[in-house]
């Protein structure tokens, strides 16, 4: 884990660290936590590194690289015995309660803890306490090292290179892990332009040497490179969604800046010219004046025949709701990528949450069809981000791709995605020629409810859209008979989705399907649940896990069958009320009898999910467990 004030290069350090591990054939799972702040407040990156695939974080930290005193204070209890803390030796005498960025409610807790454990007031006192618990403390004189590096590089003003504290900690970390230094250099070279990379490599080596000379063999943990035997990538959910979108044919993306969605749009804009098997193509990314404009211009682009999407988070989606209703009414194939974050209101703008499921399902006045597809990990983000365009165009309705902050900002190692077989399915679109001898009606009543589309500008296909109720041609109609047919036409398209989309695309099943114990969940808790399942299985517990991906229309019959007769139905979600559990109860009549919930703004770790599940399986848990781990 690396932590420091925002703006001090925590992200960069973690990225270099993760890449360096990736180059050594290791799998990495990284979680990024940051305040809604530009500079100064605490942020950290928690990396889990393993020769085997890792799907989530665990509680224990083996090595904490603290750029500042606050990081050590905040995370000291997460460092496991035999673990280490890299710390600035020149801050040892700092009184921890004098750290200006600690909020009062945290200080209260800290004082309680320090009194309880009889810890003195300085950082050194706190670290001494950790050492008593068999944690190694590695004091490094950051400023002295920077001065020496400055001398080497001919830089007089140390303030110019204080940002390199992050690389110092990387150097010390890898020296402690006894990892191949050349792989770290490679990671630095891919992160920085040449001149900056040279400077950082100088710093890296200086720090490595310092650690090797001063810390000898006290640290037990090792990182050993292996052969990956395959090509792998290390990416965030935002990046995966962006790539999935272009694969799926998205050619117009609109957005208004919002955390944690905006990174996706910026990444797309940076890659706006697309390579294809033929000539280059392009995606147009438009930063609109607000989310209202974002959804409605995406709808406009979709009517004109482009695959179009917008990307946002809760507050932005709130503004999009009227536009969503219009898109539902006018059968517009528009995609909304929705990254949930801590809510309500501005909530926890940079933190995680899963409390918008009910909102996504019901947003908008009136009744209209929509598809909600929720991915559970970064790989699913990629494939689903492509697939949602097929769903939107085939069934002519808005599709909400429901994600969350944890997925947006986590990074994970994967074998390179196999995307060559992704099919574009555009549904029925009539051409000028096909329209020659017919009177076209955009909203023609059909058995399935689907009427063939014509994109704006097509000869022989002039038609109308209106947000009013309309007749088949698209003109305003308030006639009761037409109204009934039009409502039914729209709504029955959902039956088609239920019938046609294969169950494998709607939910995933892990573990023992026949077990009397079943976990139901959705979204990013997936990784922690699967890892917990595997741990529990190795201990002889039997457990199944149903990850529900298509939440609207819900594959009700399948879920009902899967839940019938189960002894323990355990709902796991990052919200207060167990929203998916409630929806399952509403649709199937079967209610989960246990809930594992978390709404601290931090995602679930494998450790806490494992503990909570084990407590349930051993009949030691209450019906409702609320998880708390994470700073």
């Amino acid at each position: 884990m690396a932590g420091g004030p925002q703006g001090s290069g925590v992200d960069t350090a973690a990225n270099i660290f993760g890449r360096a591990c990736g180059y050594g054939g290791l799998y990495v799972f990284g979680r990024r936590e940051y305040h809604s702040n530009i500079k100064g407040l605490h942020s950290y990156f928690h990396l889990r590194i393993s020769p085997k695939e890792t799907l989530a974080n665990i509680n224990d930290v083996d090595l904490l690289a603290a750029f500042d005193a606050e990081t050590a204070v905040r995370h000291i209890n997460e460092v496991a015995p035999e673990g280490g803390i890299i710390i600035d030796s020149q801050q040892m005498n700092m009184k921890v309660l004098d750290i200006p960025t600690l909020p009062p409610e945290f200080k209260d807790e800290l004082i309680k803890f320090m009194n309880e454990k009889n810890i003195g007031e300085t950082l050194k006192d706190l670290l001494d306490y950790a050492e008593q618990k068999n944690v190694h403390v590695y004091p490094v004189p950051y400023m002295d090292l920077l001065n020496q590096i400055g001398e080497k590089l001919g830089i007089e003003k140390i303030s110019k290179i204080t940002r390199m504290i992050n690389v110092l900690t990387i150097g010390v970390s890898f020296a402690l892990f006894k990892y191949d230094r050349s792989l770290v250099e490679k990671a630095i070279r891919t992160t920085f332009p040449e001149k900056l990379a040279d400077m950082n490599i100088t710093a890296l080596n200086h720090a490595c040497n310092y650690a090797e000379e001063n810390f000898k063999d006290s640290f037990k943990h090792r990182l050993e490179k292996t052969d990956a035997h395959e090509e792998r990538i290390f990416l965030t959910g935002n990046q995966a969604v962006a790539m999935g979108k272009v694969l799926g044919g998205c050619r117009v993306q609109t957005y208004y800046p919002i955390t944690p969605a905006a990174d996706e749009s910026e990444y797309l804009e940076a890659h706006e010219i697309l390579k294809t098997s033929g000539e280059d193509e392009a995606i147009i990314v438009i930063q609109t004046e607000d989310e209202i404009a974002a959804i409605n211009s995406a709808s406009g682009a979709a009517l004109a025949g482009a695959r179009a999407a917008t990307s946002t988070s809760g507050p932005g989606f709130s503004l999009m709701v009227e536009g969503l209703s219009w898109a539902g009414n006018d059968e517009v194939p528009v995609v909304i990528t929705y990254y949930q974050r801590g809510a309500p209101a501005t909530g926890l703008p940079t933190r995680h949450g899963q409390a918008d499921l009910r909102f996504a399902m019901h947003a908008g006045h009136g009744e209209f069809p929509r598809i909600i597809l929720a991915s559970g990990d970064i790989k699913e983000c990629f494939y689903d981000a492509a697939k949602v365009f097929n769903l939107a165009e085939k069934y002519q309705m808005p599709v909400i791709h429901l994600l969350d902050k944890a997925m947006a900002n986590c990074s994970q190692t994967y074998p390179v995605f196999d995307y060559g077989k992704f099919k574009i399915e555009r549904g029925q679109i009539l051409t000028e020629k096909e329209l020659e001898n017919q009177e076209y009606r955009r909203f023609r009543f059909t058995e399935t409810g689907l009427s063939p589309r014509v994109v704006l500008g097509t000869k022989n296909g002039v038609h109308w859209y209106t947000g009013d109720e309309h007749n088949e041609i698209g003109h305003i109609s308030e006639e009761p008979f037409n109204r009934r047919l039009m409502v039914e036409k729209r709504m029955k398209k959902l039956e088609l989705v239920e019938k046609e989309v294969p169950i494998e695309e709607k939910l995933n099943f892990f573990g023992n399907q026949d077990s009397e114990n079943i976990v139901v969940s959705w979204g990013s808790p997936k990784g922690a649940i699967i890892e917990s399942l595997n741990l529990l299985k190795s201990e002889g517990f039997s457990l199944g896990f149903m990850q529900i991906r298509m939440i609207n229309p819900l594959p009700t019959d399948y879920i009902k069958k899967a839940l019938e007769g189960k002894k323990r139905i355990i709902d796991v979600e990052d919200n207060y009320s167990g929203q998916l559990g409630g929806i399952i109860k509403e649709k199937t009549g079967i209610a989960p009898n246990f809930h594992i919930l978390k709404y601290t703004g931090r995602p679930m770790t494998t450790t806490e999910v494992y503990n909570a599940l084990k407590a349930i399986l051993t009949d030691k848990a209450p019906e409702r467990q609320v998880l708390m781990f994470g700073s």
Binding site: E231, Q239, A301, I424, G457
Partner: protein
């Protein structure tokens, strides 16, 4: 042989505006302008907002997108960006564009998309029975207002000029010939054209009526004839054209100055015109040279076997760790 105005008439739909509504004049002017420009119905998309003006597209034989209150410009932008070959017209009321949609009004100016935006300006919210719109002057009490209007009026022309619209004009719904010409100029203008169309509401605005514009209340004492409040900018030799960037500021100030005239002398015509400013299409083409020939709506997404044509190698290379 090109199409006639009547070819753009939509006889399937009953135009349900009040008798004497200015919207009829705008509808006729649109039919005439399209015919005279030699356009065909499928090449045109009329996007509208909510209110009486929102019904305008249903009465024109051309693609029509009747959207949400205040959102006509965002929809129009999406359509135009996806397919810049379409002739896109945005239509809305004064409340739609300058009240609920004012943010879009201003931001559209920053982009200078090559399309035309017509506001039906009558000072009232008609369909909700006559509340004051953002263009109603302060202290006026139209007949359905419980109290005189407490808010100052927005100046649509001035706002358009400073927001970056590159063609800013005003016309009058009852002067169909003038309006048609202005619409034609707006469509032909390379950039975002704004037309403030004065459009009396015969039912709810009993102050700025057809008779008021015609000056029935201020007859010439010698001839006894009404003296129209409206006069044409072209007739006084007003030159709105920016031919060189050095005269831009001066022309903008002159346009805003003219836009301040209201009451007994109301100018109509072109206030400001600048084709030097690159359109959003120009700006996108600079970054994406093939944008106009292969816009988003025209890209073929799949190969002959239906597979996505996209090659993600460039993305993947950046993310590779082994």
């Amino acid at each position: 042989m090109g199409l006639k105005p009547s070819d753009f008439r939509n006889s399937d739909v009953f135009a349900d505006w009040c008798p004497g509504c200015g919207d009829f004049g705008i509808m006729n002017a649109l039919h005439m302008a399209f015919a005279e420009l030699g356009l065909e119905p499928h090449q045109i998309v009329i996007v509208s907002g909510i209110g009486c003006s929102g019904k305008e597209p249903h009465n024109v034989k051309a693609y029509g997108v009747h959207t949400l209150h205040g959102r006509t410009l965002p929809f129009a932008m999406g359509i135009k960006v996806a397919n810049p070959n379409l002739e896109v017209l945005a239509i809305g009321g004064d409340g739609d564009g300058l009240g609920i949609g004012a943010g879009h009004f201003v931001n559209a100016g920053r982009r200078n998309l090559d399309m035309t935006y017509i506001i039906h300006n009558n000072g009232v919210y008609g369909l909700t029975k006559g509340q004051a719109s953002p263009t109603l002057q302060r202290n006026l009490k139209t007949k359905s207002l419980p109290k005189p209007n407490i808010n100052e009026a927005v100046n649509p022309i001035g706002l358009a000029v400073i927001s970056g619209y590159t063609f800013v004009a005003r016309s009058y719904a009852y002067d169909i010939k003038h309006l048609k010409e202005i619409i034609k100029q707006g469509i032909q203008h390379k950039g975002l054209a704004f037309i403030d169309c004065l459009q009396p509401c015969p039912t709810y605005n009993d102050i700025n009526t057809k008779e008021w514009y015609a000056g029935e209340d201020r007859k010439d004492p010698t001839t006894g004839k009404p003296q129209s409040r409206l006069y044409k900018l072209e007739e006084i030799g007003f030159d709105p054209n920016v031919r060189d960037w050095s005269e831009d500021f001066k022309k903008k100030v002159a346009a805003i100055d003219k836009a301040r005239e209201w009451g007994d002398r109301i100018p109509i015509g072109v206030f400001y015109k600048n084709e030097l400013e690159p359109t959003l299409q120009d700006r996108l083409s600079e970054r994406i040279p093939f944008y106009l020939s292969k816009p988003p709506a025209k890209q073929k997404l799949s190969d002959e076997n239906g597979f996505s044509k996209v090659n993600l190698t460039e993305f993947i290379e950046d993310l590779k760790t082994s």
